[in-house]
Each structure stands twice: as C-alpha cells, then as structure tokens.
Symmetry: C2
Subunit: 334 residues, 2 copies
C-alpha cells in the first residue's frame, strides 16, 4: 500500500484550525506533495495553500484526495460524500485516517469500483502480518519512545528524518499511526494490528536495508501507559532500535486519559525502555531527549532543558523550537 502523491488536502467543514491538524501535519512535512486545499462552505481552517477545485487540482497533477480533518460525530455527511464521489469520477484516489472506513460507505465503495480508484483507510490494516522472527536485520533504526502518549514522537521522528536527509544521510520515516501514514504515503497503523502480530508488523514496516541506512520509526504510546503499553512493547521489540529518543511533555499532570496514573520519571522510563529493547538489540542506547515545551513558562524552558542535558548526559531539545541537530550529531558521533 502506497498512497500516490501529489495530494489535494480536503478540509471539509472543519469548525476550527485544530480540527484540520492532520492536514496541517501533511502540509508542514510534505509541502512539495500538496498542490492545494479544498474547503467546503463554513470551513474555519486554512493551511495557507491555494484553494483549488477538484478539477483544478487534477490539472495541477493531484492524484489523491486526502481527508485531513475529522468527520463530525464520525458520520460521513451527504456534502462530503458528493465531493468524494465527484473526486473519484475525476480519477482521484481517496485516503483517510478516520475511525470509520470509507469502504464501509456503499456509495463510496461502488464509486471506487466503477472508476477504478483506491480507497485508503490508513487506520485499518488491510494485510496480514507474520509473527515476528526477532532476527537482526541489516540497516540502522531509531525509535522515539515516550513518557506518555501524545508527547511529540511523530514530530520528533519526522524532524530527525528531515535533518538526516538535509545532511545527505540515507533515512526513511516509518509511520505507525494514521497521520504519520498520510505524511509518509505508507506505513502500518500499529495499534490496529492483531496483538500476536505487533512486532511482526514492525519487522514488515522496517525491513532489511543498507548498513548505513536509518529507519526513523514513529513511536506509539508508552511502556508506562496502562492502556497501551503492550503496543509500545511490541513496537520496541519489532523495531530493534539502535538508537532511542525519549519524548516528554513536562507539564502533563497525569498519563493521558488516566487521571489516577502519574507520569514515570525520565530515569525510570529510560531504564524500562532500554531493558526491554535489549532483548532484540543489545547495543541499543539513548541519543537524546525531545521535550515539548509549548505548555511551559517561557522563562523556565532553557534551564529545564539544560538540567536534563546535564542529568542524563544527552542532548536535549524542543524539536519544534530548535530542531533536532544536536540529536543527529550525537547519533553520528557514536
């Protein structure tokens, strides 16, 4: 499964900018792939891309209409369906990362068959995977792990891929969640895989490669999240990472969605991840810490980052603010 680009980003009737954050991520990380945006009446989001009709976008080369916005109440409205049908009539494939599937809408499925278009429901794996072999495979791998969910793992790994490519290194971002898959054009929504095949799916996602090639694997969840740690564990074993980056959000009051659970200390989180990761790669090590400082008092940020850097002897950055150069430096030094 590879989603063809260029994309036309569909923002629908997004009630605000936040509702279009998937589209925003795609536009940010793959600007060259995005010919424009398509907004319906009442849309309150704007990516700063040209507003294009379906026809104009096709003329500009767009191959896939990417739904970059949540559908309200999980329903595909008539307005959406008529746009998507017309898009397929014009030859677009359609890609979405929603909970409910495009292929479950009879009108859309019929239109896709009629016009020979593909519907990509990237949150739902469509292939079967093997059980993980655990065998070490050539190529190098970096994985982002977190103290919690939603602390910046996707952003950090995309920033590392970009920095590596800017330096002429061989690198591929390997997406494990729906937004990442739309950004990469391919990947596996790892939390939707059948439990027995979590690690096997990651081995498929990040196959053998050149010795000097880096797969930059998007992390998911946290070993310390009582709902999702199994996913994080399987991902860690399947990725066989040579390098880990710890992602953290210092103002988080409790684990996401679990008011009774405190965040682990960074020390405990690193130790647990190293211990588990050594099973499939004894040489694993941390190469840096990525902190999402957006909720911190600005005056406290610098001291906090420098303190972590000293405590753990690891480069520590907010990737959104200053990028990830020190992390890639450390990785190249090793």
């Amino acid at each position: 499964m590879a989603i063809e680009h260029p994309y036309l980003l569909f923002l629908g009737d997004a009630p605000d900018q936040l509702a279009a954050k998937t589209a925003q991520g795609i536009a940010h990380w793959r600007p060259d792939w995005c010919v424009g945006q398509l907004r319906l009446e009442g849309c309150k989001a704007d990516l700063g891309l040209p507003d294009l009709s379906l026809e104009a976008a096709r003329e500009a080369g767009a191959k896939t209409l990417v739904i970059g916005v949540a559908n309200r109440g999980g329903v595909f409205s008539e307005a959406w369906i008529s746009v998507l049908e017309k898009a397929m009539l014009l030859g677009f494939d359609i890609a979405a990362g929603l909970h409910n599937r495009l292929v479950d809408v009879p009108l859309l499925k019929a239109a896709a068959e009629q016009h020979g278009c593909q519907l990509f429901d990237v949150r739902h794996p469509t292939r079967e995977f093997e059980v993980a072999s655990g065998s070490k495979r050539p190529g190098k791998r970096l994985l982002a792990v977190g103290t919690d969910c939603s602390v910046g793992k996707m952003y950090t790994t995309l920033a590392v891929e970009k920095e590596m490519l800017d330096r002429g290194m061989k690198a591929d971002f390997r997406a494990t969640g729906q937004t990442g898959i739309l950004i990469a054009g391919q990947g596996v929504s790892i939390d939707a895989v059948v439990a027995d095949f979590i690690s096997g799916a990651v081995e498929y996602l990040s196959p053998a490669n050149d010795d000097d090639h880096w797969d930059i694997v998007e992390g998911q969840g946290s070993l310390f999240h009582a709902s999702f740690a199994g996913v994080s564990m399987g991902l860690l074993h399947g990725a066989q990472p040579d390098a880990l980056i710890l992602c953290h959000e210092p103002t988080r009051q409790h684990m996401r969605g679990l008011p009774d659970f405190n965040l682990p200390t960074l020390q405990a989180c690193m130790e647990a991840n190293l211990a588990a990761a050594r099973l499939t790669n004894p040489d694993v090590r941390f190469v840096g810490i990525a902190v999402n400082t957006s909720q911190m008092h600005e005056s406290a940020v610098e001291a906090y980052l420098r303190r972590l850097e000293a405590d753990f002897e690891l480069p520590t950055v907010d990737p959104f603010v200053e990028g990830v150069k020190p992390l890639v430096d450390r990785l190249q030094d090793a």
Copy 2:
C-alpha cells in the same frame, strides 16, 4: 459468549493421541462436563470416555459438540462437515478453537442458521472491547507468567483454581487461549484481540468481584519472547495481578520458535514482570514457581526444585506431579 455444557468431544480422525490434546485437556479438567467422545474411522486417539453417537450423546444431555482435535492441513473435510451438519440438525451447538473458522464454511453457517445453533470459534473474538481504564477493581487476581511460551501456564492456573475450589475458596479460572476457553466455557483469545485493546479485553475478562474472590488468569507468552511480549505486557497490565506464579521449563534450549534467543534467568524474568505489573498493582508479589519437569532426568528433579525454593524463597512445585498446594498455602498466608 458462554459455551453450554455438557460436551460431546469430537476427536475426528486424529492421527495420534497428541492431535487430540485439546480434548484431553477438557476431559482432564472438566470430567463432569464430558458425556463422551465421538471418533471417526481411523481415529487413533482415545480419551477413555464412552464412544457415543450424536443421538446417544444428545439423549445423555450433551448440548455442545466440541472439536477437540486439529483439522489436518487446516481444511474441514467432507467427513467432518457431514458430522457437524448432522449435529446441528440434532440441536448441538458447535465449538472449535481452530485457526480457520466454522462460520467461514458456508454449509456450516447455513445449517447453524437453519437450526438455530451457535458456532463458537473461540480463537477469534467476536465482540469489541474498550480501551483499558487501568482503574483498580475489587476482587483478587493471580496471573501465571513464563520464561517462555508453552511452559505450563494453563495447566498451572487450572490446578490453582481446582485447589482453591477444593478448599472452599471463591475462584474462577479466566481463559485467555483457545484450549482454556473450551475448558472454561468462556474467555477471550487475547492474542487475537486488536493491539489497542489487549489490556481492555483483560479488564472485561476479569471484572470487579467480591473482595475474597480470586480470578486465576491464564497467562500467555513471555515478556522475553521477541514475537509475543506485547501480548504478555498488555495481559499483565490488564490483569492487575495481586499474585504471580512463574512458570518454567528447565530443559528448553532456546525461546520457542526463536533459535537465536536464550531463555531469561528466573531472576531477570521475575524482576521484569514485577516492574511491569507494579504499574497497575503496586502490591503485586510472586507466590511460587511452577516447573514443568517432564523433560528432566528424574534423579535431578528434586534437587532442582529445592534449589529454586531456597534461592527465591518461594514454594516450587511441578503442578503435574505434585499439585499446587504449597503455592495456594503461600497465597493464603500472605
């Protein structure tokens, strides 16, 4: 989903006794539920139960025909299908723990609908689960964990349930694999659940209960198995165990199916399980070690068990040989 008993155990054309090990487990642990066995021509397995025709089994009260044997090559033969169809005509439900599903065989699905019978494909969850809440729930829980897969976790937990019931304690075996589900009549095949819901499925499987009630949760895999550790981790967090039993097979040369992976030390395995389990139950502790000694030299067994007992200060038994009384004693003492 609860499978109704009594059962008639279908052994098909089992080429040897081992092929019928699922049926053997059911007959061993639930003798009162098994009215007899049904064997086709050429069957080389024998459970020592009365050979009954479908009609005779119905007269004896049997409600479910349980397929207790693997189907050769994963195919449902014509001989099997005609027996299963006739069983449904007579009012049997049918239960199986095979990789391929009964409901995927059109003739069987049609017969089930026609006669109002249920088809239980216990390896394949049919319901959706919630994401785990992590919230502590009343009741006590014991979980078997292992140094590897297939080291006796199901046998151990069933033996603990039996010992507790014999003592008049409140206890329920909670099945997480297909054979266990057929033995318990219900359960969740945890490795077949979508990854995001592993822990949530265990919370569903082992709900709130009386303060003095024990759920004895069947373990799966190992935190040290590179293919399946994610399942074991999610199971550990969802079960919130108060008590753990470590299961081990001392002659295992490498992790099952993974020739390049050594087994962990018992010490390392206990520490990793305790560390992970504390996330959802800080009071978790080991109450014993269960060793499968069947492959050991008989002369070495006793010394080995006593050495573990001394090293770890935990009662250590082969449940198959001597039962699990010392483990339940320890648990009651605590």
